[in-house]
Symmetry: C2
Subunit: 344 residues, 2 copies
């Protein structure tokens, strides 16, 4: 397995102490943190994007493990959460300043052995964001809006840096990964490692992504999307379900790295935040059809939460992916949470 081309480069960091009111910038900054599953203080390179209204309150926006720092569409880059983040959207870049980081992986750190840095914790992502804030001249974060893995990191951020954060919005994530989801993700990683041992890590990553896709969507979505008689081709039957998953796997392999996938997938499974330790007023959004993050886990999170937390439940055919698909339902809930004094 190979590491990213763009790896840790500590001396390239300007860390310009840019005020949060400066114009848009997409940059990288070296910060210091004590990894949850490591030893001692370490430097890490954090790649981030900061944009939106000058001088406006800052909203941190983080998505799933495969999301990047471009939540809004800007210039030529289509944002992964375009319907939610942008001018006049739920997270309105005319009224807020948006900060997103690229998730840390092992390449974000100076070269460390697996004994020095056993894994990347959701706490490390939270601490990296917290360490980045003063470098950007940001004292307080108005809200942290996190979906999927981003929801886990948001919970870790709120638990560890409560004085920095006014509001938390948690979407399709909970205080822990569900054991069944851990089992399936662990198999995804086993497949990648097995393929790597046989010198074909790309096919392993492809199969792992296809498997992940079966957990991102609901039964209903598969039933409505698929159908038609299987077709006999090249010595076996091909099912309608295969084509869609094959395409998803192939796209993922083109844009993602196996080592990064292993680290972030494992980070989800290691995530553990005591709900009682989160003392920031929050809005929780769960998806009834989510097979990856069962609604029951959001209910438990809400019950045990250390601050007022309103749980909203979304009905969707899309399962976990509803956080990307049901923006018409999710947008107003986020906008309401961001509006001053409206945390319920």
């Amino acid at each position: 397995m190979t590491f990213h081309a763009e790896a840790y480069v500590p001396d390239a960091c300007p860390c310009p102490h840019l005020p949060a009111t400066a114009s848009d910038h997409v940059d990288a900054c070296t910060i210091r943190l004590t990894p949850r599953h490591g030893r001692g203080v370490r430097e890490a390179r954090v790649r981030y994007a900061l944009y939106g209204a000058d001088g406006a309150p800052v909203v941190v926006v983080q998505g799933g493990i495969s999301a990047n720092r471009n939540a809004a569409t800007r210039d030529a880059d289509t944002g992964w959460w375009e319907p939610i983040v942008g001018d006049d959207r739920a997270i309105d870049t005319r009224g807020f300043r948006v900060l997103s980081i690229e998730w840390l992986d092992r390449t974000s750190f100076e070269a460390l052995s697996y004994d020095e840095l056993r894994a990347i914790g959701s706490e490390d992502q939270a601490d990296a964001i917290a360490a980045l804030l003063p470098e950007l001249g940001v004292r307080h974060v108005h809200a942290f809006v996190g979906a999927s893995y981003g929801a886990m990191v948001g919970l870790a951020f709120a638990a560890r840096h409560p004085t920095r954060l006014r509001k938390l919005v948690v979407i399709a994530g909970a205080h822990r990964a569900h054991p069944l989801a851990i089992a399936v993700r662990n198999l995804q990683r086993e497949i990648v490692r097995f393929a790597a041992r046989h010198g074909d890590v790309r096919t392993g990553l492809d199969l792992a992504r296809r498997l992940a896709m079966t957990t991102y969507r609901s039964e209903r979505d598969f039933a409505e999307r698929c159908g038609g008689a299987p077709e006999f081709r090249d010595g076996r039957y091909r099912f309608a379900e295969e084509g869609w998953l094959e395409a998803a796997g192939a796209r993922f392999v083109e844009r993602f790295d196996a080592e990064r996938f292993l680290a972030l997938s494992e980070s989800i499974d290691l995530h553990a935040v005591a709900p009682e330790s989160v003392r920031v007023p929050s809005t929780l959004i769960g998806i009834a059809s989510d097979r990856l993050v069962p609604l029951a886990d959001l209910c438990e999170l809400q019950r045990r939460f250390g601050a007022p937390a309103a749980l909203h439940v979304i009905d969707s055919r899309y399962g976990h992916d509803a956080f990307l698909k049901e923006t018409a339902q999710i947008g107003p809930l986020i906008a309401e949470a961001l509006a001053t004094g409206s945390v319920q």
Copy 2:
């Protein structure tokens, strides 16, 4: 991939036309059928077990793709459905004669190319049982009790041989495989084929079985079974979920063949019986927590059924595997269905 040691041996078939009243026997018989996904009439070798009360009505009992012909415990062999089949059990071998076959796979047929026999259909299993009956001197089957893949074959049997069958009991199976389950099973087969290409089919079968296990159990079962902090060992964290799945995968590889797995897994996905075409009074048993065979599919089966069909729903922590685990709930429903005149 290698075929079974015990392959098709047509001239070894005595086909003794044993009366159904004869004593217990475990044997094999060559029958003729026209494969659903093949060309022309073919011979197939059917391995079966027939035991129970002399002269009693015959009940066909069939389980999942990994079940064998030993449903009851007899001699040294522990039956796969011991709590249900045996003396004084729900399928009482003091009052019934039980017939089960080993599922056909490609080794059951004379050597055929993939063009001559593209796949094994659930219809072929049903037709093999139907063809076996006269050889055993059985005119009518009192009941066909099928669970999982056995339920699919039972539906095919009832649709194709209605005059042979008085009652059908369908447990955790439906008129078609659900598209999401097809997607996950297809990935299991992709993993086996990928591993075979790299000369390590055993690991592929192991991983495929582990993946299957994540669909056989419910969220609740995983949540109750697993837990505890992950442990760092040999360069990565090990999760509590892994040990159980690893053991299940290892056991499966010892007793199952990759080629047989591919054929039977595909056979599930190819299964399609129009519910309207089933005109035998039936008892349907669904499991609310089943992630592989959604209860909604049994509801649709019941709605569209071509004869009276009572749907019973079982509540269980075990998901699909409830057909093996909730014998105290399922047993009385089967016994009631077998009792004369009690089909609802």
